[in-house]
Amino acid sequence: MAAWNMLTLVGADRPSIVAQVTHTLYQLGGNLGEASMIRLGGNFTIMLMVSGDLSTEAMLAALAPVSTALGLRVHVDPVHGELHQHQVPNFQVRVNGADRAGIVAEVTAILATQGFNILELDSDVAGDLAQPLYLMNIQGFCAAPLEALETALAPLIAQGVAVTVAPLELMIG
């Protein structure tokens, strides 16, 4: 059974971050699992499952030259977890509105009351400096029916936050 570490790296975006980090891990004998890597506000962010007989110290030491050269902040945590633990989302929640503090907290608090488990959340601020537009896209699993989610969100929608819930239909062929 593989032991997994969750490796987190954040730094100003530039070409070759992924190549240099993964090359270093490969040379160290690490094997990569699931990952999320994305540019957020000019930073490149990496969350990466790494398995292998690697201590946290060994991984940090091996990554030090690359992280120093590329200006990356690095964090490593041993984690419980395995591959092949996917959950399939059955609902998608889309939110957009004039950007203001509290939108995410309000939407997700309501979803939590329905037992909604967030599996993926992307958000972005579009528009421009004068009129920023907040967009959020959530995929998750909830045993409650669509109507219950819509009823729970209705008060927030009445306050002017555009929230829609759509069932996600998985097609297996």
């Binding site: 399939v88 889309r94 992307d122 972005d124 896209n137 995929q139 998985l170 097609m171 297996i172 062929g173």
Partner: protein, 165 residues
């Protein structure tokens, strides 16, 4: 009837092009029965294509009639299928018997007009939309050696509002 073995990625045979069916005979009927038995034996798949069981002829089966509130044409055996017209596009999540434990978002046409033969060689035309149209497009890709993983789009693509199917 027999339950056939399903090819799984990274088996290179899944990339192979399938040939048109020319013989509408008892052997074809037997194969279609086996293909349907194989579909039903696996995890709730709404479709299956011949190349998934190592048989490279242009045959797919689709049946979305088990889903509530889903427009459908029932159990369909589609031989030498062709999409003659398509409209719209939408992102939807797909999985595949040949790619266990993975699902991804794929863009498909929301409505298609389809021409196909049945197991006896009779030609039929179908107007399809939504889930059924998606299933047919997914299965037809197999006939050209394509899998849905060849068409998966970024999760972020879904930020753009899709047309409701």
């Amino acid at each position: 009837m027999a339950i056939l073995e399903i090819l799984k990625l990274p088996d290179p045979r899944l990339k192979q092009m399938s040939e048109p069916v020319t013989q509408f005979d008892a052997a074809l009927h037997d194969f279609i029965a086996d293909l349907e038995a194989t579909r039903q034996a696996g995890p709730s798949a709404v479709g299956i294509a011949a190349p998934q069981v190592d048989y490279f002829q242009r045959i797919v089966i689709v049946d979305v009639s088990g889903r509530p509130k889903t427009p459908n044409h029932g159990y369909l055996v589609l031989v030498n299928p062709e999409i003659v017209h398509w409209e719209g596009h939408a992102v939807g999540r797909e999985g595949c018997l040949s790619v266990p434990d993975y699902t991804g978002n794929v863009i498909r046409a929301t409505a298609i007009r389809l021409r196909a033969q049945d197991g006896d060689g009779q030609v039929h035309e179908f107007e399809m939309e939504g889930y059924e149209a998606r299933a047919v497009q997914h299965e037809m890709d197999h006939l050209d050696g394509l899998l849905f993983v060849d068409r998966v789009v970024s999760r972020r693509t879904d930020l753009y509002r899709r047309k409701q199917g």
